[in-house]
Every structure is written in structure tokens, then in C-alpha cells.
Amino acid sequence: MEDYRIVEHPIIDFKRGRKVSFTYNGKRVEAYEGESILAGLYAAGFRVFATSPQGDRLREAFCMIGRCSSCLSRVNGIPNTRICIEPVRDGLIVETQESLPDIPKVSREIVDVVEEIKDVDVLIIGAGPAGLKAAEILGGYGLRVLVATDHFRAGGQLVKQTHKFFGDTTYYGGVRGFKIAEKLISNLSRNPNVEISTRTFVYGYFKEGFFGAEKIGDPSLHLLIRAKYVIVASGASERSLLFENNDLPGIMGAGGAQTLMNEYGVKPGEDALVIGSGNVGLIVAYQLLQAGVRVHGIAEVLREIGGWFVHAAKIRRHGIPIFTGHTIVRAEGRDRVEKAVISQVGKDLKPLPGTEKEFNVDLVLLAVGLQPNYSLLSQMGALMKYLPEAGGLIPLRTRYMETSIRNVFVAGDLSGIEEATTAFIEGEIAAYTILEREGFAKAVEKRERILNYLWNEYRQSPVVQRSRDAKLKVTVSEEEMKRLRG
């Protein structure tokens, strides 16, 4: 059987769990505990996981983190299972489902979900840099904290970042992303005040005063969470791009590829083209090289490279061209990408005829920006503003990261796309504001020092000017927020 697992990697030691086996459409597939079903299938060479509802187009997963819904499959008789976030287990029966699935097959003895009411001081939604940092501080002061994350491991997008982080050593500068996650999680595991609840989907807020969450497990729990304070740090999702055959298997988000190769150690393809030269695109190109994938180039629609020069230099010196002023116009292939065509763009950013370049690739990664996951805050009624330069709909907040709903805070990419350092800092600011309200007088001083560093130093860097300007547009004064709250 083919195995696309990465055996040796220059940065990551893949510690694979126990070998398990399951069936996929009747075929036996071997995988390792700790992998998602999808990662296991990908490693075995499967690339198509579903079809369009009309059954006419093939679908591969795009996001690999449970959002895009392109990998819905039948697992042990249950349809519409997101196999990218379903851990692989011994003996599973996994099947592709027809465009419109049959109803679930359930056994006679169904274990109903138990409902559990949880009272905590702070509910944190999201276990990425912002959520974990806030939890560390709040837990350290003895507040009872519940961190809820969709995924079966905490760390958010940190777990798939193999590069050393920039910034200051206070905020883990110089440490690789996945190592930061390990460190934070290990610190938190020693704090009895903090509970990290994985596979926990906070699906909504009820006006009766609690959040509903489904915690998937054996048995599953239905959590009704009451919290004095809430920090929503639910991150962002990858954007797609409009070009011909943009749904062909082999086209995925850059983060999707990172999940496969850096979290699960599975090679996402052999020959890649990256679209978008922001930091994500540049970094993923470098990571592809590390995973042994040939990178044919990066297309960037603007005239300049979008990300930081140092990231660009890292891949340029390994021979990866960056085609500025180019965009992808189409992908070609029968049941997966075989060729990608890019074209120069004119001043209007529209493709210019006769300038096409073709690449024989089996992987096209879209690194064309992120959009904040605003839906929970929006459902709660928080005021939002549309800011295309910050990724989409962004919640309004005070400089203390409080939204238009009192005691509900926001931090990280949901507050406007930026770097991990600012996610840590925003988590801290929200945490210290909560501590201030809980009567910890010293919190104010700490918070003001951090705020000063954030606005008057870190965000003064010219390379983050765009995100600073965007964040200013959604940051309102306390008085203004009072007025908006009405």
C-alpha cells in the first residue's frame, strides 16, 4: 500500500501512536492513533472524499479543520461526519456518501447525550495563542477557566507552525510555533483552575444566559455553560479564490496543507504551486520544501511580495520563483489537479491574454487571506464592522478588547487578522481587564504596560501598519462604546 507519511523531517519528530486499521469503502486502511480519518486516508493515497450535491464534481477537503464541509462521510453508519476532525480509531467503517446521504443507521441501544451544566468564571472559546495565553493568566490568578476548542488537540493553528516565531522572547520569539503550543498546554495542564475541553463545539448563546456546546466523546456531553466573562478567540478561516475549476481535488487552503504535513506528517502532494505571497504563502512554501514537496512557484497578484522580506528570501534562495503581478486563471485535470495556469494581470488586476504560464503540479495551495470566524459573536448580538483590509466582519471593541456586549471580550485573529504575537497580547489584555473587574488592582498596571507596548511600540513597525490602521478603525473609546450599547 502507498504511504505518503513523512518518515524523516528536518524539524518535526513525528511520534506516531498505535497502529490501527479501519475500512474505507470496504478496503482496509492502516493508520496511527492521533491522526484524523482524513489524514489516514490521505496518507494511503486517497484524494477525493466527496462529490457535489448534484454528484457532478469531485470534492477534496479544503480547510482540514472542520469548517469547509467538503469531506462529509459516513462513519460507522453516521452520515455527514467531518472526517478531517474525527480521530481515527480501530475498526471504524468509513464510507463516502452519495451526494444526498441516507439517514443514519443507529443501533438499538443508543446512549443519549448527558447534559451537564458548567459554571465557570471565564469561558474561552478557542485554544489558539490568544485563548491559551488568556487562560494561563486567568488560571494563574485562581479564576475558574474553561477553554473550549473544536479540535481533538489544543493549540489552534500554532500546532502546525514549524518556523521560529518573531517578536520578543516575552512572547515566545525564537520558539517554533508547535513548541509554543506544547509549552502553553503543559503549563495549563498543571493548573487545576483551567480545563481545556477538546472536541467541544460552542454552537450558540441562549438569552436565558448560557452557551450551548456539544462535547463529542464517549459518551458525548451537552454542555450548558454559564460564565461571568467570555473571551471569544475563535480565530479565522481561509478564504477561497475564484478561478476555473477552483474546486478540483488538489486545491486546498495553505493551512489545510500545513495541517496534513505538519500536524499529521502526511505529504500533501509532490509538485505544488502556491497562490498568494503573504506570510502564510511564503511560510507554507518553505514548509513544503522541508516536507520534500517540489514548489514550482508562488503567484502574487500585486506588484510587490505581500509578506516579510526575510520569509521571501528563505524560499528564493532555494530556487522558488515569485511571480508578482500574476494570478491563477485555471486548474486542469481529470479527477485531481494535473496542471495550473497563471497569467499576468493588468492594472485592474484582471488577467492579460497571452501571458499564461503553465505548471504541471498536483497541488495548488491558496494563501489568499483569512477571514475572522465572527458567527458566534454576531449571534450574540455584538456590533460588527466590515473591514476588508482586516479580513471581513470584525467586532467593535474597546482598547481593552471588550465587545459591545459587556463582559464579552475578543482576542486574536477574530479581532482582525494579525500575527501570533498580537494574539498573545490581546489575550493578555482581555485577561487583565477581567482580573481588574474581579478586584485584582495590580492587573491594571500590567495591562497598561502591555497596551503601551502594543500600540506605541510593536504596532509602530511599518510592516504591520496596515493591520494597525485596520485595528484602529474597530477600536472605540469607552464612552463611544457606552453610547453604542445604548
Partner: protein, 161 residues
């Protein structure tokens, strides 16, 4: 076209940003080239240097090298998150010695022959690894190259085993 279009730094870019050590210092022995021309908010090199040779006031300043304090030890090469620091030594005969970060396979070892790559990834020659050490999965590799390639060679490719 500038480095924001090409992803490639020129000697002029380095001079303009004030990142180039003096010729006199270059002639003396190994010295760090901080190839970091944008004011990114990062100061890891400052705390990395055991000799306090790198400084900045604000986190977004360009790094300043005190060329008299720098001994070319290469610790900053290992620690710079941007893999943007190189040590060059043009003080020894007709060869130049370039110390660069390396995060690929196969692992480097002393004496290994390597292909030498310039800033655009073009092979500009062959060289030999004279020294290699590792810090948290970043290898710091010193290669011996023709002297005239001292500003060109910025990466190596070690052929498969």
C-alpha cells in the same frame, strides 16, 4: 526592481539600510551580515548575541551591529527566526567561509560536498562543509567557497544519500 519585488537583496540594499560591515572589518575575520532590511517587529538577535554586539532601541528598529564586538560566532545565525543572518569570513587566503542556517535534509556533516546556491537559488558552484552544528533543529553550517562568491552564496543543497 527592489527586494520587495524580487525577494533578493543586493549589496546596495544592504549599504542603504546600513547593514553592511565596513570593508576593514570584513578583512579582519568572520563577521555577521544581518540581512534584515525591513523594520519587522522582532528583536531575537539582540538577546541571542552572547557578545551584545547587536542592538536596537525599539522592537521595530533595524538591527545595528557593533562590528567591533562581533566575533562571527554564528549564534545569531541559529536563532534568527527569519534565517536572515549569515557570517562571512573573507580573511583567509583565496577562499571565503560562509556560515548559514540550514533546515533541510539530509543532515549536514563536516567534509560533505554541497551545491552552492545564490539568493535566487541558482547553483553558483560547489563547496565543502567545514563546520556544522545544530541548535533546536536549525543547523549552522560553514562552507568553504571561492572568495568572489562571498556575497552570493546564501544556501546549500546537500545531495541525497
Amino acid at each position: 526592481m527592489g527586494f520587495k519585488e524580487t525577494g533578493v537583496l543586493t549589496l546596495e540594499d544592504m549599504m542603504r539600510a546600513g547593514l553592511m560591515p565596513s570593508e576593514e572589518r570584513l578583512r579582519k575575520g568572520p563577521v555577521a551580515l544581518l540581512e534584515c532590511p525591513e523594520q519587522i517587529p522582532c528583536n531575537i538577535c539582540v538577546s541571542a548575541c552572547p557578545f551584545k554586539a547587536i542592538s536596537m532601541d525599539k522592537i521595530y528598529d533595524l538591527p545595528r551591529l557593533d562590528e567591533n564586538k562581533c566575533v562571527g560566532c554564528g549564534v545569531c545565525v541559529a536563532k534568527c527566526p527569519g534565517l536572515a543572518i549569515f557570517v562571512v569570513d573573507v580573511s583567509k587566503g583565496d577562499k571565503a567561509y560562509i556560515t548559514l542556517p540550514y533546515e533541510f535534509l539530509p543532515k549536514p556533516s563536516k567534509g560533505a560536498k554541497v551545491k552552492l546556491l545564490n539568493r535566487e537559488g541558482k547553483i553558483v558552484g560547489e563547496g565543502v562543509i567545514v563546520k556544522a552544528w545544530e541548535y533546536e533543529k536549525t543547523w549552522v553550517v560553514t562552507v568553504e567557497v571561492e572568495k568572489n562568491l562571498w556575497f552570493d552564496v546564501r544556501a546549500i543543497r546537500i545531495e541525497g544519500r
